[in-house]
Symmetry: C2
């Protein structure tokens, strides 16, 4: 054991030790004269988990007010447009306060109110809830902090829909990101990462004719990929991505051209996309687009 | 166009506009009385790219001193142990300065020196270079900021080694992370994400007998996965992962038990691992372990 690690075990007299499930340095909690002092480890992964597990409830118990946050997660609209739609709520308001956060392809709206108790805090939010739904309801995919992939993973589990992917430019990002969701093994069958054309043909079973005639980055290829993966894996939802993440274009096609597809019992659908940004942006947007198409499928299915 | 977006186009008179390849807000650069003022966009992805492309060289030209950083990236040793091995260099030194950074399974050492010119700055680093190699050389995988996956991707390209993976718990993370490296398409064939056992058997071709007798989380299964993926994809390097990321164990096996395998023309090798941490930690460590095994393979191959 190194000196550094030993010094992590030094605890002030009378202090409480907080367990660290994700690292070696414990947390420390001290109370005196009605004040609470909390020492957390530096790495965000360790700090956040420890705060949620050992600290949040302790602080909430001490607080005389109830602070309540509600989340609205949107996709298909930019942060500027979302903010502008709610400008009258953002300006001059103190309870609740409203903030927007931008992630790739997703805008998170947080509404935070405080009251003497939960009921009062909730009451302050009612009006905002109605307005946000009226103005932005069509973009709402979940009322939580869950990202699109997290929402998709949880929804697949809830609906019991089995899933598999055929990924070219995303190269396993879709399945790997879904696999972050605990419990996904009940619905995630697997996938074929067909980065190279021969893999698309020989392992996935896209026809050589399609590849020669239209190229790998084509609506036709994407369609066959989605259909084939659903057949091979025998699952409810088969998705596919093929496109050019850059740095260079190919087959006379530009960087950012991506086809995304989804195959279900109701048929197959493919969309052509033109994404901007870095290689990584284009790959992440392709993944998110697949999850958006899954959301569209669920909406359409439900309204029938 | 929203008001927000329009306001991004407002530029002070006489200022220089810096192009933003990754977003809408441009950067602004102003010089007056020998001082330079730079305004960059907030999102780190946009800010960093703009700094590297449009700002760094401008600042360096203005500076009278040459500041030089050199990197050593280690794996197989903890941050505390690496720091302790270099404690005498860390303490009391001002030129060069030495700092260590910890990422999952990787420790990055940065040595920064300054001099009147490049030669002088380099000279100050010579001694440190010798000492770091002597004491920590066995853990060194690259002299750059490249992470293990980035190093692996670039090395595969340089060596012209074709690659494919059979991934259970990592679920496509290995191929997806490699796909972040530009130019990887020359060597990355693809992979099979075999999250579910029937996919391991029917798509990848692991024998049903092995799965029934030893279970999916076993040395035997991992070995077959590595061998099969190399055969199916016809590539130089086939790797495999199978294990339990949690939250719950399975088949009476504990969370964190992971088998990682690599199959090359020289044979197949499997290692049993017991990883700690969150579900995500365990998956990332499994991926990194595969790249470490690839590094070990290259080292052994070269010394023969």
């Amino acid at each position: 054991m190194t000196e550094n690690n030993l010094s992590q075990a030094m605890i002030p007299e009378g202090a409480e030790i907080l367990e660290n499930p994700n690292g070696t340095a414990p947390g420390i909690l001290m109370e005196e004269c009605g004040r609470m002092m909390v020492l957390l480890p530096g790495p965000p992964r360790e700090m956040k988990a420890m705060f949620e597990e050992s600290v949040r409830e302790r602080i909430e118990k001490k607080s005389r007010a109830c602070v309540l946050s509600r989340y609205y997660h949107l996709t298909g609209i930019g942060e500027s447009a979302a903010e502008e739609a709610l400008m009258d709520l953002v300006e001059g308001q103190t309870n609740p306060t409203l903030a927007t956060y931008c992630k790739p392809d997703q805008v998170l709206i947080r509404v935070t109110s405080s009251g003497r108790n939960r009921e009062e805090a909730e009451k302050f939010q009612e009006n905002y809830d109605i307005i946000i739904r009226q103005r932005l309801g069509e973009y709402l995919f979940t009322e939580s902090k869950d990202t699109l992939p997290e929402w998709a993973g949880k929804t697949l589990i809830e609906e019991g829909l089995t899933f598999a992917s055929a990924e070219s430019l995303t190269a396993g990002m879709i399945t790997s990101t879904l696999a972050e969701v605990p419990g996904i093994s009940s619905v995630l069958r697997g996938g074929i990462v067909c980065y190279e054309n021969p893999v698309k043909e020989k392992v996935l079973g896209v026809s050589g004719e399609t590849l020669r005639r239209y190229g790998a980055v084509s609506e036709e290829c994407c369609r066959e990929m989605a259909v084939r993966i659903r057949a091979i894996m025998g699952c409810d939802i088969g998705v596919a991505t093929t496109g050019l993440a850059g740095p260079a274009g190919d087959e006379g096609k530009p960087v950012g051209l991506v086809y995304t597809g989804i195959c279900t019992k109701d048929g197959v659908r493919v969309e052509e996309n033109h994404f901007r940004g870095t290689r990584e942006d284009i790959r992440v947007r392709s993944m998110n687009k697949v999850f958006k198409m899954f959301r569209d499928y669920l909406k359409e299915r439900k309204t029938v």
